[in-house]
């Protein structure tokens, strides 16, 4: 028996609060979980800064990756012996599911924006580079790491395999919705996954859902919608995210201007300078990042130390609703007033938009933008979900976007009440 088919002498199980148990029988999967690159995911939180809003949201990408693996394992169990399903793809699917988030860095979203990086590129580099993960995948078969990389990159020829990991109803979303709901403690995000798994069917190039499972899918779409507005896009989390990205901008700006840090931020040098190597990228996790934030609180630069204090001690910016169209002139006036008040507007006057934290709403795929969810009718015809579901149609047709202005209200309040600048700022902000 080759390494590909090798089974553990006894099944291993991980207790899991969402799926109860995660089952592992394949030696390859067990070995992958033990690699340093996969263990690193324990030190990357799944929801980034959301723990500052929902104190329970401390779960990691390690938890989520195991969860996605478990869902795909169950789907494949159901697909066995069904038409269109090739069981030779089983191990490939399991590996791709387990490793799909391998390239995530600390507080991915802000890091990627500020340093212009893409975690997907690093996932590819980990899979194909000189890593423990690559050695294990290569042991399965020469060229197997590339296959896994292609599935995760969504460029694998068998689109059915891709759609298990990445489509509008995939294992990735089904895990994170339930897991994020569990750890944040919100009552949204629940749906009947068992039912969805039972009615999923493999078609030529996509996974479809039997029409009888439509209501379970409606629930799933509703939970995506609610989790977005209630959790992922929570204005307090956005405030933390704004401060985080301003810290990174400031540190980079100081580095570029030749500023002498009290503690050399050696882990950040390659990020400031451009493309970090794979080794450098993997060395920076959230524990290391938070260590620097804590030391930067003692820096002489008042902007960097203040922003770090705000992040570490949760003294976040306050926000007001803002319309960039009708309030453009006010924004320009505020920009000048903030400078006059000694608050650098590039760091303390921030407009944040819903597109700054993109979350993929369900889209019915008009004009072939992206593949929608298809329902399989008893006649074997496929119909797009929102054509049959009024609920989904109502959500996917509705456009809701949002812009907020973030400000350090505490600093404004500290200013003398006799200050004309303060008076005018408050007038613009609060009327």
């Amino acid at each position: 028996m080759g390494y590909r088919d090798e089974k553990l002498s006894e099944e291993k199980v991980f207790k899991d609060p969402v799926h109860r148990y995660v089952h592992v029988r394949d030696r390859v999967i067990w070995d992958l979980i033990g690699t340093s690159e996969f263990q690193r995911l324990r030190r990357i939180k799944q929801l980034g800064t959301s723990y500052l809003t929902f104190h329970g949201a401390e779960h990691s990408r390690f938890n989520h990756s195991l969860g996605v693996y478990e869902i795909v394992r169950r789907i494949i169990e159901n697909f066995k012996d069904r038409p269109n399903w090739d069981d030779d793809e089983r191990l490939l699917c399991l590996c791709a599911a387990l490793l799909h988030d391998l390239g995530h860095g600390p507080f991915s979203h802000s890091f990627e924006k500020v340093f212009k990086l893409d975690h997907e590129d690093y996932t590819q580099k980990i899979l194909l580079g000189d890593t423990e993960v690559n050695k294990i995948l290569t042991q399965v078969e020469e060229g197997f790491p590339k296959k896994v990389a292609d599935v995760i990159n969504k460029t694998y020829a068998n689109k059915l395999v891709v759609s298990l990991i990445s489509s509008q109803i995939d294992a990735d979303r089904m895990d994170y919705l339930q897991r994020d709901a569990y750890f944040t403690g919100v009552s949204y995000g629940h749906f009947d996954m068992e039912r969805i798994l039972r009615v999923m069917r493999p078609m030529e190039d996509q996974v479809v859902v039997k029409e009888s499972g439509m209501h379970a899918v409606e629930d799933y779409i509703m939970s995506r919608y609610q989790m977005y507005w209630q959790v992922y896009f929570h204005p307090v989390t956005r405030s933390a995210e704004v401060i985080l990205s301003k810290i990174l901008h400031r540190a980079k700006e100081l580095y570029e201007s030749g500023y002498t840090f009290k503690l050399k931020p050696t882990h950040f040098f390659s990020f400031f300078a451009g493309q970090p190597t794979l080794k450098e990228y993997l060395a920076l996790d959230e524990a290391v990042t938070l260590y620097y934030f804590q030391t930067w609180m003692e820096e002489d630069d008042p902007v960097l130390s203040d922003l770090c204090d705000r992040f570490v001690n949760r003294k976040l910016f306050k926000y007001i609703e803002f319309n960039p169209n009708s309030q453009m002139n006010q924004w320009m006036e505020l920009y000048k007033l903030f400078s006059k008040a000694g608050l650098n507007p590039d760091y303390y006057l921030v407009v944040d938009s819903s597109s700054d934290l993109p979350y993929d709403f369900y889209r019915p795929g008009e004009e072939e933008e992206r593949l929608p969810i298809h329902l399989l009718q008893p006649s074997q015809e496929l119909r797009e979900l929102s054509r049959l579901s009024d609920i989904v149609e109502a959500i996917s047709g509705k456009k809701r976007t949002d812009h907020k202005l973030y400000i350090p209200l505490d600093r404004l309040e500290e200013m003398s009440n006799r200050s004309k600048t303060k008076k005018r700022i408050m007038e613009i902000l609060y009327g």
């Binding site: 460029t155 960039p324 407009v351 597109s355 993109p358 004009e367 992206r370 976007t401």
Partner: protein, 166 residues
């Protein structure tokens, strides 16, 4: 503020209109690959490179009244038509844009079908690979589109032409 939105508005202001969401997606991707510094991030999807960020930003610009979106019913589908509005142009006046002129690129792309732009953007997605491998990849991931060898050659010529504009 909203610098990335402003860049997109500059794009819309460089043409009378853009017809089709798929076309819009592929045009911005192709421009990115021609070194135009749009910041929207793309991933590969069923129909080629796709950016959720772009979709959301366009929605935001429509909601703010900077871009107009018209939905037209076609035989089996809906088609969307985008134009910059007066308040969009006014908003744009507040920005000093560091973008190269886009008119010629857009004219070239507007003259092609969304199917062709899907091919070109897919070829550009695999640009890091040797040419024969790119062709193989296109056939593998786009088997249902039935692109021919001539289509691919035409795609390379088109890419060369676009990149030669400046």
């Amino acid at each position: 503020m909203l610098e990335n939105h402003a860049k997109l508005m500059q794009f819309f202001s460089s043409t009378e209109e853009i017809v089709g969401r798929k076309k819009l997606q592929k045009m911005i991707y192709i421009l990115k690959k021609c070194e135009v510094p749009f910041e929207e991030r793309y991933q590969f999807h069923f129909y080629g490179p796709y950016s959720e960020e772009l979709t959301l930003r366009v929605e935001e610009m429509c909601n703010l009244g900077f871009i107009s979106e018209e939905r037209e019913e076609k035989k089996n589908y809906y088609q969307y038509r985008y134009q910059i509005t007066e308040s969009g142009r006014e908003f744009l006046n507040h920005y000093e844009m560091d973008l190269p002129p886009l008119h010629d690129h857009i004219r070239e792309m507007n003259g092609r079908s969304s199917r062709f732009l899907e091919l070109v953007s897919t070829m550009l997605f695999f640009e890091g690979l040797p040419r024969e491998e790119i062709t193989e990849k296109v056939y593998a991931v786009k088997s249902t589109q039935n692109y021919t060898e001539e289509d691919i050659q035409d795609g390379w010529k088109f890419i060369e032409k676009l990149r030669g504009i400046h």
